[in-house]
């Protein structure tokens, strides 16, 4: 430069920033990322909650690794918990007890780690439901749905391997079930089991192996998937809810710098704080109550953590006595059936965006989210899935439902078996009809406005009810959605109607046969040409009750 116009920063922070920028060109990066726009809505923060819980898991987990010893060698407990003094147990269990009783802050760390794990999977699950019900998985985000799905599986795996590490009676019972499920797989099951456990269950290897998975492989997997997940969010940009000025070509919201950096940073500490408060006041997994693992006893009320509950429920709800002997091998369908059904359920969850895209044939990019009511069939399917999962989940606590509500265990079980089959069907139809009814209401409001309950008499004697027209901003929300119509099975180039296209046509009519079209411009104008101009009567001084408090 010929003229010296360069300004030197005068403040300390300015100086430091300039020092870094001159050496690392951080300015460009910040400019790029700092201006990234994110829309603001509470439901967009659920994934964030999962991520912050994961950060808490990493911090507390690191502390725990300093003191935990993943060995199944036997010792006599000499710590401070009186009812186990002198008891024979594994080093893993003894070190977990030491963390709980003899290491300062250890119990708090154990509890915050466990509560954070429960919250991590719960927030991730709720985030998945939000993405599903708003159609955020549509093009271009199908692959990110898959990444998220695998993140959820990895979270479940991380949780289960962690649950098994203390080597107490509860977690040992859980591992025994895994062992049983593995052994139920025909032909190869027993080999898989003995490979995993290093011989016959329980062996003396499993804790160390689960430890490697829990502190190394699974966290690494989660970090990598999380990075990909977030990178895709940046590539795709965030979705936004329908509203004036919000289209599939833009994103409306606030920039990362400084709004979201401050907001998200503060939110992390709120999540951390809530978790710490819970961990400091509520016991979780009191391993000292369960005692050291021993293959013979099983305690009543033995359940896995909540995210594995639906699998446990599937096992409990499956009818027993369904063993079939084939070629000298017993196929225990009481175990295989739940295994197959759970895997099929997961497969449908993973494949859903691709299925829906195939049915609609919609190749457009979608950045404006659907209101759940505007996709009645999808919302119905989602509700059916939620009910199916919830019944399996509740199935894991049949014994507790029976004792705590003084009911008959067998009847609880039978009711759940029936509910598992008819519940999703009922949920589908009720939800779909509710969505269509809400769409009808929206249409009515868009065309004729809200009923105010105010009846006026016109000068020529006619009585009318005054309808309050919604403003343009509100109107946009009511009419801005895509209308799909059922497609017909069409012949291909060879003039044949393939089975695939028949299935697709059938699914398409299943999806879109019952539909409410958005209000078109012509309809809107017609509706307003009919009884406009609006009645020019003097407004009453006092607002009608329905309107008070709005806006």
């Amino acid at each position: 430069m010929s003229t010296n116009t360069e300004q030197k920063p005068t403040t300390f922070i300015g100086g430091a920033a300039n020092y870094l920028d001159e050496r690392l060109s951080l300015g460009g990066v910040l400019k790029n990322f700092g201006r990234k726009v994110f829309p603001d809505h509470w439901s967009f923060m659920l994934g964030e909650v999962a991520m912050y819980s994961f950060v808490v898991l990493l911090i507390s987990g690191t502390f725990l690794t300093f003191f935990y010893q993943p060995s199944m060698a036997s010792v006599h407990y000499e710590g401070s918990y009186a009812p186990l003094k002198g008891a024979e147990m594994s080093i893993a269990y003894a070190s977990s007890l030491d963390i709980s009783f003899d290491i300062r802050g250890g119990l708090l760390m154990r509890q915050v780690h466990h509560w954070a794990a429960l919250l991590f999977v719960a927030a991730a699950g709720l985030h998945m439901l939000r993405v599903f019900f708003t159609g955020a998985f549509r093009k271009p985000r199908e692959l990110n749905w898959l990444v998220g799905f695998f993140l959820f599986l990895a979270a479940m795996g991380g949780g289960f391997t962690g649950y098994s590490l203390p080597d107490d009676l509860l977690s040992g019972n859980g591992l025994r079930i895994i062992d049983g499920m593995l052994k139920a797989i025909p032909f190869i099951g027993p080999s898989i089991s003995s490979g995993l456990f290093g011989g016959e269950f329980p062996g003396d290897e499993i804790v160390a192996r689960l430890y490697s998975l829990h502190i190394m492989i699974i966290p690494a997997l989660i970090i990598v998937l999380l990075a990909v997940h977030l990178m895709m969010v940046i590539i795709h940009k965030h979705t936004h809810y329908s509203g004036p000025g919000k289209t599939d070509e833009n994103v409306v919201g606030f920039p990362l710098m400084p709004v979201y950096v401050a907001k998200a940073g503060g939110f992390f500490f709120l999540v951390f704080g809530v978790l710490m408060a819970i961990a400091a006041t509520f016991t979780i997994n009191p391993i000292w109550n369960y005692g050291p693992y021993d293959p013979s006893p099983v305690s009543a009320g033995t359940q896995p953590d909540w995210y594995i509950g639906w699998l446990d429920g599937a096992l409990r709800l499956a009818p027993s006595r369904m063993d079939v002997e084939l070629l000298g091998v017993v196929l225990p369908f009481g175990v295989l059936l739940p295994l197959v059904i759970s895997l099929a359920f997961l497969a449908v969850v993973a494949a859903y965006p691709f299925i829906e895209k195939w049915v609609t044939g919609d190749d457009r990019e979608h950045h404006v989210l659907d209101r759940p009511r505007n996709a009645p069939t999808r919302t119905g399917i989602g509700a059916a899935g939620v009910v199916f999962y919830a019944v399996l989940w509740a199935g894991a606590s049949t014994d507790l439902i029976a004792t705590n509500f003084q009911m008959n265990l067998n009847q609880v079980l039978t009711s759940m078996q029936i509910l598992l089959i008819i519940g999703p069907v009922i949920a589908f139809w009720v939800t779909k009809r509710a969505c269509i009814a809400l769409q009808r209401k929206d249409r009515e409001i868009a065309l004729h406005g809200r009923e105010t309950g105010r009846v006026v008499r016109l000068p020529h004697g006619e009585y009318i009810e005054v309808h309050e027209q919604v403003d343009k901003y509100e109107l946009w929300k009511l009419v801005d959605f895509k209308d799909y119509q059922p497609t017909l099975a069409r012949p291909n180039a060879q003039g044949k109607i393939t089975l695939g296209s028949k299935i697709r046509a059938a699914l398409s009519s299943f999806y879109f046969e019952d539909r409410i079209a958005p209000v078109s411009k012509a309809e809107y104008e017609l509706a307003h040409a009919d009884h406009s101009p609006a009645p020019s009567v003097e407004k009453p001084k006092r607002k009608p009750r329905e309107l008070v408090g709005k806006k």
Binding site: H41, M45, P83, K85, F267, F282, A300, G301, W306, N408
Partner: protein, 255 residues
């Protein structure tokens, strides 16, 4: 050689005496305590007024009630002392309810039932203490996990059995009643006689249960000690519920 006709009868008699006597010795049935005739008479009066309609006027059992011959004083003390008897309604299992008799009345009925035939007696105080050098709580907790936890849960929070039956929660049950339940096996519970669990074993189990009940919770509120189900419900309803309230608050600022 020709046997005399009574020889077979004698051999059968001998066999019965030996096996019966041997069984009685082996199972170590505690003889009924010596009670005064007055107490027995008083107990019989109470029995006739309150129990005989189901258990028969001589405790021989009737429609709706089993025979009480040989159940011993411990059984009466447990059933009446915890309010389970007189039964409120028939069903898969009787529930606890407020006790309807005074200590003296219960002792009188126990003495009467014990006078019908020998059976388990009300335990001595030495097996009901929960502190002392000879008590091995580690042993008690291990025995509890092996013998009791599958129905009563690892810390005695209770659990479900089939067809409406259940293993009740053990919190708040007196030492004496726990001991009596073990020796008499009330309702759906198996009997743990002295050959199975010695009186010292029973004492250790009771000491463990009392420790669990009375010790301060180290980790904070215990959520009823029913394990991961309560924890899962808690995290969804209160944990995530509270966090969602925060997200709504953060999201609302923009509007």
């Amino acid at each position: 050689m020709r046997r005399r006709p009574w020889a077979i009868g004698f051999v059968i008699f001998l066999g019965l005496v030996l096996s019966g006597g041997g069984y009685a010795a082996a199972t170590n049935v505690v003889q009924a305590e010596v009670s005064s005739a007055d107490q027995v008479a008083e107990g019989r009066k109470l029995f006739l007024a309150n129990c005989a309609s189901c258990h028969g006027s001589n405790g021989e059992g009737a429609i709706g009630g089993p025979s009480l011959i040989g159940v011993g004083a411990a059984s009466v003390d447990f059933q009446v002392g915890t309010g389970r008897m007189p039964g409120q309604a028939s069903g898969p299992q009787l529930y606890k309810k407020p006790v309807q008799f005074t200590e003296e009345q219960i002792s009188a009925m126990a003495a009467y039932v014990a006078s019908l035939a020998p059976g388990p007696a009300i335990p001595d105080a030495e097996y009901l203490k929960t502190t002392g050098d000879d008590i091995d709580m580690t042993h008690g907790s291990e025995l509890f996990r092996i013998n009791c936890a599958m129905c009563h849960n690892a810390v005695g929070a209770g659990g479900a059995l089939t067809q409406g039956k259940f293993a009740p929660a053990l919190g708040g049950v007196t030492e004496k009643h726990i001991y009596e339940a073990m020796v008499t096996g009330p309702q759906n519970m198996p009997v743990f006689n002295d050959a199975n669990l010695t009186p010292e074993d029973k004492r250790d189990i009771i000491a463990y249960l009392k420790y669990v009940e009375e010790a301060d919770s180290v980790g904070g509120y215990e959520l009823a000690s029913i394990g991961p189900v309560a924890e899962g419900l808690f995290v969804w309803i209160f944990g995530l519920g509270f966090i969602i309230a925060i997200t709504v608050w953060l999201g609302a600022k923009a509007n």
